[in-house]
């Protein structure tokens, strides 16, 4: 053991990563003796050991009073998955459904659909939730997955710390520091579903400045229709980016990053109620620049971050441009008695420009200014055993005025192996441009003498949607090899978006027409409850098994104006199960397999004929390392069925949707 350990430290002096795979095997079993073995190293060697951020995070996560799940860099690498939404299938309580080659519905705790709007997504602290559209364009955020350090997924409201629109959860993507991506990496992948080519190079200038840059080309091949023909939804994108990290002093670190991207994708949609689908060409381009400074004072620390983000999105007959300038300041204040407080202020300016026809908006330009203030206090009631966290976030937006998002959480860790937590919180989803200012006159085909139109209109008084969430959870680590994490929730939603039909009226000129107005309102309420469980099992160091299960009961809609009101459909299955396993069965060989299954989706209230049944998708692949720096992976996805549908296409009255075919892929990774 100690010889192996010395080998590791020698490796650390050269390049820790080279010997990592040899040593990691013995580390698992020898955990208990590790500290004492470390003490046999010289002081100089100790200063060279790289501290795993995973270990540090694991300890923090165990004592976090929230339903949190982390996808690590290694989880991503082992899975062979090539898109962000597909990664989310690992997370308990997260519903993922692919709609087109480029389009996914992703949400936790219900309300899933193409236009899911209750999940906040952040990449290195930069929000990618579009305020025009109230949702996330997953296709516009196709990162190089190899750059991701970890993805922290929090189910349930996170409005207190994270801001608006974190109603049902937060996906927090954290990329690797530039210092962790030294050298060159080439990626080539090809298969039925997609083709990817990417190159990354990382280096350093002196000891303090590290950088990397990358380029990624991606082609997504078309999926299939219900009859097995090509679905005409292929797309492609190109993305370049760079990051630099500068450790100016031990107390100061500065980080810069930026990306530029362009992409396009096709999809078949229903327009104007016409039954024959039309092909819609979606073109996107944009980019961002972000700077961050972290400073540690003697008693407290401070983080200052600013970014500029621009997104252009064109589809069918509409063009949208959204520009965001954001400034955030977060401070962890000096400890006072048993209190550790966090204080934050934020400013965000969002300007939108929308040009479209026949769907129009009451204004062409939008300017939303948001101020926020947050205060949160961690009160240690019993050191290392009981902690209570309370706080609130105040938001002031140009459109909805002041919103408050409070939260109260508590955790009890009777020992290092058990944790029990509970939380009560309130969060809001702010209105989209469409909900406030839509103006869409749609003729209804009829043979009568008088034309009839439907007029869909926004509502200037549209309020933020609100959730009150009650959650509790339990974690247990059974030895080093088995851990269980269970969470339960009860959510009460108020002021959910509704669409109500008002009294039809006659327009006399230029031609007589009957107009049926339909207007957005906040007339719906809903309740949901559910249980989520994650089990992780590492019987030996070469085998890892993970399971995630969720049960959600969320069908009780209460509407105040019964017959004339419709709302979101709820494409959330009652049961979702995901299993994955990795077996490193020989020195250079790894086998990975995963299963994802859901029970049938609830029938659509608008279109009772549409039906999405239970499905099972099975993925498996083999990885072989030709050399330490050259890895080839080959396998298949959706192996169980020749094709299946994952989301109700009638869900939004617009999408046609595609089916996911059986597929195979080969991927090559080469670093030098």
């Amino acid at each position: 053991m100690s010889r192996r350990f010395r080998a590791k430290v020698a490796g650390a002096a050269l390049q820790l990563a080279i010997s990592a795979c040899v040593v990691s095997a013995c580390l698992v079993t020898a955990w208990a003796q590790q500290a004492s073995d470390l003490s046999q190293l010289s002081l100089e060697d100790l200063t060279k050991i790289e501290v795993s951020s995973v270990a540090r995070k694991d300890q923090q996560l165990f004592a976090t009073p929230a339903a949190v799940f982390v996808i690590t860099h290694d989880d991503i690498r082992r899975s062979g998955i090539r898109s962000l939404p597909e990664l989310m299938r690992m997370v308990p309580g997260m519903q993922v459904a692919q709609l087109y080659a480029n389009e996914w519905a992703v949400s936790s705790r219900g309300f899933n659909g193409r236009f899911a709007d209750k999940m906040l997504v952040l990449i290195d602290g930069r929000g990618i939730y579009s305020e025009i559209y109230s949702g996330v364009y997953w296709d516009q955020n196709d990162l190089l997955l190899e750059d991701i350090d970890r993805i922290e997924v929090i189910r349930g409201p996170g409005g207190t710390l994270w801001g608006a629109n974190a109603v049902n959860g937060i996906i927090n993507i954290i990329t690797l520091k530039a210092g962790d991506t030294k050298g060159a990496l080439l990626i080539g992948e090809g298969g039925r579903l997609d083709e990817e080519g990417a190159a990354r190079f990382g280096g350093g200038i002196g000891k303090q400045l590290k950088y990397r840059s990358y380029v990624k080309f991606l082609e997504r091949n078309q999926l299939v229709t219900a009859t097995g023909k090509g679905a005409g939804d292929a797309g492609s994108s190109v993305r370049v980016g760079a990051r630099a990290d500068w450790q100016a002093h031990p107390q100061d670190s500065v980080s810069f990053q930026g990306d530029l991207y362009r992409g396009h994708g096709d999809e078949r949609v229903h327009v104007d109620g016409v039954n024959e689908p039309t092909s819609s060409n979606v073109n996107t381009e944009g980019g961002f620049a972000l700077a961050r400074w972290d400073h540690t004072f003697s008693q407290w620390d401070l983080g200052l971050q600013t970014y500029y983000n621009q997104e252009n999105h064109a589809e069918l007959s509409g063009n949208g441009r959204e520009r965001t300038l954001d400034l955030d300041l977060l401070a962890h204040l000096p400890r006072y008695k048993q209190n550790e407080a966090t204080l934050g202020v934020g400013y965000r300016l969002v300007t939108d420009r929308i040009e479209s026809d026949p769907v129009t908006f009451n204004r062409e330009h939008y300017r939303d200014i948001l101020y926020s203030f947050l205060f949160e206090d961690d009160l240690v009631v019993v050191p290392r055993r009981v902690k209570v966290t309370g706080g609130f976030k105040l938001l002031n937006t140009s459109y909805t005025g002041v919103e408050i998002q409070p939260g109260l959480r508590g955790i009890w860790t009777p020992d290092e192996r058990h944790a029990v937590w509970a939380a009560v919180s309130r969060a809001v989803r702010t209105p989209s441009v469409q909900e406030r200012d839509l103006h869409y006159l749609r003729p209804i085909p009829n043979d009568g003498p008088i034309l009839t139109d439907i007029l869909a209109e926004g509502n200037a008084d549209f309020k933020s949607e609100v959730v009150h969430a009650y959650e509790a959870g339990y974690r247990q680590a059974l030895g080093k090899s088995l851990s269980v994490d269970i969470a339960g929730f009860y959510n009460q939603y108020k002021r959910l978006r509704s669409q109500s039909q008002l009294q039809p009226y006659l327009v006399a000129s230029p031609t007589p027409e009957v107009v049926i107005p339909i207007v957005y309102g906040n007339l719906l309420e809903a309740r949901s409850d559910g249980v989520e469980a994650a089990v992780s099992f590492r019987p030996v160091s070469s085998v890892r098994m993970d399971a995630a299960y969720s049960w959600i009961n969320a069908r009780r809609w209460l509407d105040h104006v019964s017959s004339s009101t419709t709302g979101d459909s709820w494409s959330t299955p009652t049961n979702t199960l995901s299993l994955r396993g990795t077996w490193e069965f020989a020195r250079r060989w790894t086998f990975y397999s995963s299963l994802y299954t859901v029970t049938q989706l609830p029938d659509d209230p608008v279109d009772p004929n549409s039906h999405v049944g239970a499905y099972l998708r099975a993925d498996a692949h083999l990885s072989f390392s030709l050399k330490e720096n050259l890895q080839i992976t080959a396998g298949g996805e959706n192996l169980q069925e020749s094709r299946h549908v994952e989301l109700n296409p009638a869900d939004d009255g617009y999408s046609v949707g595609s089916q996911i075919p059986r597929s195979a892929f080969v991927k090559l990774l080469w670093s030098f």
Binding site: A35, G179, E628
Partner: protein
Amino acid sequence: MTTPIKPGWRVLRLLLLVMSFNAATDTPSLGQAAPVVDEAQIRAAMIFNLTRYVEWPPWKFNEPSAPFVLCFLASDAVGDDTEALVRDRQSRESSGQDRKVTVRRISSASAAASCHVLYAPKLDRKKIFEAPADIAKCAVLTISDNPTTGGIVISLPMVDSRVQIVVDLKAAQQSGLTLSSKLLKIATVSR
């Protein structure tokens, strides 16, 4: 607004070709799992080892067999790991070789005068200066994990995912301890 983009596969192929002649020898392995090493365990090992590079004045030991006292202000993982390490060492090594080491948890610095080493995590390190007797005159090796030393002899901050050693020369001189030149070579010295 945009025209559909056909990714530059040709460019990539060229890139691959050029790079294939460029295979270097010290190649990093492909994303293999990094070993899991814990920050607190490294600090614990450092605290344990630091004692070999520091000399205490003879009066600090009342008698030849007096134990060596490691004190921890507030309870945190570094204290736990040091305690585990000391316990493990003592069970494995034959007794009598070295001076006996005891680990003591203290809740305030008033009990720190008899300690040889006093560790306080960054949030509690102000308490070190709350001692009624001037701790600087008691030959106590004060250690924290803050990036700046601020009157504490040694700091073990995390820099670039590694635990570093920072020595405050002024605080060291006032403490009455003798630090070996070897330690000063490994550590960053703040004046």
